[in-house]
Assembly symmetry: C2
Homo-oligomer: 595 residues x 2
Amino acid sequence: MARYTPPLRDIRFVMHELLDVEGTLKTLPPYAETSRELIDQVIEEGGKFCAEVLFPLNRSGDEEGCRWAEGGVVTTPKGFRQAWEQFRQAGWPTLTCDPQYGGQGLPVAVGIAFQEMMNSGSQAWAMYPGLTHGAYDCLHAHGTPEQKALYIPKLVSGEWTGTMCLTEPHSGTDLGLLRTKAEPQGDGSYRITGTKIFISSGEHDLAANIVHLVLARLPDAPAGTRGISLFIVPKFVPNADGSPGARNGVRCARLEEKMGIHANATCVMDLDGAAGWLVGEPNKGLNAMFVMMNAARIGVGMQSLGLTEVAYQNSLDYAKERLQMRSLSGAKAPDKPADPIIVHPDVRRMLLTQKAYAEGSRAFAYWTALQADIALTHPDAEARKDAEDMLALLTPVVKAFITDNGFLCTNLAMQVYGGHGYIREWGMEQYVRDARINMIYEGTNAIQALDLLGRKVLGDNGAKLRKFGKLITALVEAEGTNEEMAEFIDPLADLGQKVEKLTMEVGMKAFGNADEAGAAAVDYLRVIGHLVLGYFWARMARIALDRADSGDPVYRSKLATARFYFAKLFPETAMLIRTARAGAAPLMNVEAELF
Amino acid sequence: MARYTPPLRDIRFVMHELLDVEGTLKTLPPYAETSRELIDQVIEEGGKFCAEVLFPLNRSGDEEGCRWAEGGVVTTPKGFRQAWEQFRQAGWPTLTCDPQYGGQGLPVAVGIAFQEMMNSGSQAWAMYPGLTHGAYDCLHAHGTPEQKALYIPKLVSGEWTGTMCLTEPHSGTDLGLLRTKAEPQGDGSYRITGTKIFISSGEHDLAANIVHLVLARLPDAPAGTRGISLFIVPKFVPNADGSPGARNGVRCARLEEKMGIHANATCVMDLDGAAGWLVGEPNKGLNAMFVMMNAARIGVGMQSLGLTEVAYQNSLDYAKERLQMRSLSGAKAPDKPADPIIVHPDVRRMLLTQKAYAEGSRAFAYWTALQADIALTHPDAEARKDAEDMLALLTPVVKAFITDNGFLCTNLAMQVYGGHGYIREWGMEQYVRDARINMIYEGTNAIQALDLLGRKVLGDNGAKLRKFGKLITALVEAEGTNEEMAEFIDPLADLGQKVEKLTMEVGMKAFGNADEAGAAAVDYLRVIGHLVLGYFWARMARIALDRADSGDPVYRSKLATARFYFAKLFPETAMLIRTARAGAAPLMNVEAELF
């Protein structure tokens, strides 16, 4: 009953009109030939795949879920395998991979649009290639030449898939507690023994082999996070010719029953002396895994962007079709038995909130992806460093801000449907259930906030934040005397100054008591989220003002959405700054027995 | 794995220390003998029933759901019937009913505590008696003496249950569109034909008969809401002796598959010339139904209060037991492998948010219930009118504010559990799914907001609101010079003034353009919610300050929670006032095709 139309016009707006991706890529040697036409073609074809192949599987996949059978065999829902085959045949897994291993070598800034659209199609399905790409990234950065030769081409082609095996029952956020053991066998291999939980895509029937990347401890490893090493543990140990060989001792003990993403297999994995091979240096496993985790965090943001977009589209359709009550300011469709509910101000608030967060997050996330490309490939070291800093600073914001908003927005989409939103067949409640996990996994959103405030902002005395601040200052200076832009620039400039003060204040307090950072972090992250979104909405408004008379309604739409954003969403910062400043005392001056 | 402990201490705090329910009841003739001891006994026994009989059915009921079979037979989950029998045997359905019909005649202010606890036990189960009590209320207010004699004793005893049949596929919020027809048969009965959807408890195996209260149109009825009449449509037409007679033409065509409350049967009901009898006057059905709807709106608030409380209890246990990471300000449990997560500031924020909303809402809702008792039974007409006004003003706030917060809080409870929160066996995600419907049914929360701002506040030029304002003024005057109370009284007094200004401003704007009310309503309702909760938290803080040295930790706990509330939750009003004042333009100045 639901529909998905790839938002090609808005993607092109962001890529070409806002970010000039093509122009930036010309400065990056590996991508200098990536033309606007190629980008548009990839996005259009990618959108077709997501809308025509993935989207039709989303509801049925949720209903059917994955099934476990004796021996740890896991079956994905009907159609998932066929979609995987089509995905492979069309070369989609190769999109942003290294040409040396069979990849198409496109930039992350292009791949991210496909990522978004896959998640609008089906988040549960998109997690299979998502984790595979994470394993690719990790091995590409840290594998030995032999490991790369053996595993990477199979991951790039989608013949094999990948996983990240971090969590254990007693060890989630706190990986320092993990107990899985790795015993050296003297032949370069290890025997890995332990139990891993919450392993997404841990077992399934899509691919011939599964490459698990497993965190474990060597016998002599120090306690805590400095004693964790990373291992490749393939489901089938590859033969020298690359074909899957002997079945390894890693099995899915059971599937978790979850709130959502039913079509992705969330596995309890038993490792019973499984053969594993060290990736990177001993005891440096967490560093190696972080390559994967940072990309995964952006990926989780894209999951929520994808859900926000598709939920928005459907709630918009519903709001235009559903007739209920008359407009308070007089009938708008007098020929009909009632007005379409889009005439009601609060329905518009719910729709525009989704639209403003979807389009604002798209601008923000795609820009961040471009920073990833610059960080990796710009010829100038300083440009690389700047981009790397932006990426480090904003990765937790992409993850937490977009996923918090995604849950808010899918809930608003559901609310637009009224009672029908609560009924499964309309499809909206699934988006809410699926969106909910994104606030939890890959580091809960509170962990993202601590990463942002503690490590990324206070950790370098605000240096990275000031770099981002310079972008805002430049915009404010350029537009400060432009009357038309005042409604966007004034609040943005004001928030910029407040963020500076807030950061100083929290930093000073945290210097005396680290719990002050913990108490302010979640509010602080949302403030930064609005600073970033405000910046991009102001820039988009500028473009829209310039082109308002072009006849293309997209510009009037952008302008209206920017106005809505600054009037109705941006003022959340007034609350957040107060609550961030309220400090740790109201939280910490409560003895545990008084809760 | 989850647990529920009835919050008897806090219920007693609210009833006896904050509200002096016993003292107020002494002024109400029917309840003058209701002693504190009796109240405590009812609550204690009621709590036992909810914790020991209902709570164990909640998870299994969710997993199993209701089943439909050919012929429209519906089976509730295992144990639901037995619980209903125990409920009946113990006389619980009679609690607040009229002694004339077999009721125990206790006040609403006592019944509400039992209502809260039933929902902590199992919201899906509690909906069966909830709707039955609604049917009782409606017939008690509007039935003929014969109808009362025939139906009410059966509803009071729980032999029969009741429903409200309002919604149709094309007619939800807008009941004026409903099409179900009632044709007079000349013998005082009518033939009712139509389809009703979303009928909670519409069919089941708990009771011998089901009394449907159905909205329908008479042949000559005017269009819209002024042409709607109310009918009793029993599943089995009662014989003269009150035994269930012939099967009537009202059948469950199917059950809806929903996001949550799986154990409550949400039915599509086909009425195929079913025999019905008019309740109240022709074409005045909506008025009659409103008796039921207002009680139901308070009831929905209690559903979310119940869920908030039980989710809080479990997330608190988890936060005390789960070891993960060290406190940022130094290890707090150095003998353990990590600190319990309750040491982390943001975990405390999540817990205290739940606690502050649970306890604040309890105070607010129980006070509102007491207003219902006063409105119905106080000997003085002015006192009745004042209480009626408070009830009318605050019913939409109980419904919308408590259910919005309930969804927020159950989500926070889930978030405290991290990944485990997303897994069904831990029970938290069910609370989120169940809590979600409460924001939608019995009038969406946006409809509540329009009722509050449009009808209850602007409708009488703020007269009712000023009555509530007088309570705040009195508190501010009494405590204004009390230094210890300044941290609570100052922000409350400040908000009181801002509400006055905001109300004037919105009223003026709405005078020119009714969409201005629609644009501000949802924010406005939350502002009023905080005004009310701030008032009760200030009063609770006052009691806690007085008794802080008593040795009972409840007072230090109250004080800490009040401080948290004013520091971290109350500042939401800073945002809400801004967004409410932003007006209709950012919402309405967007042509539909620009969305």
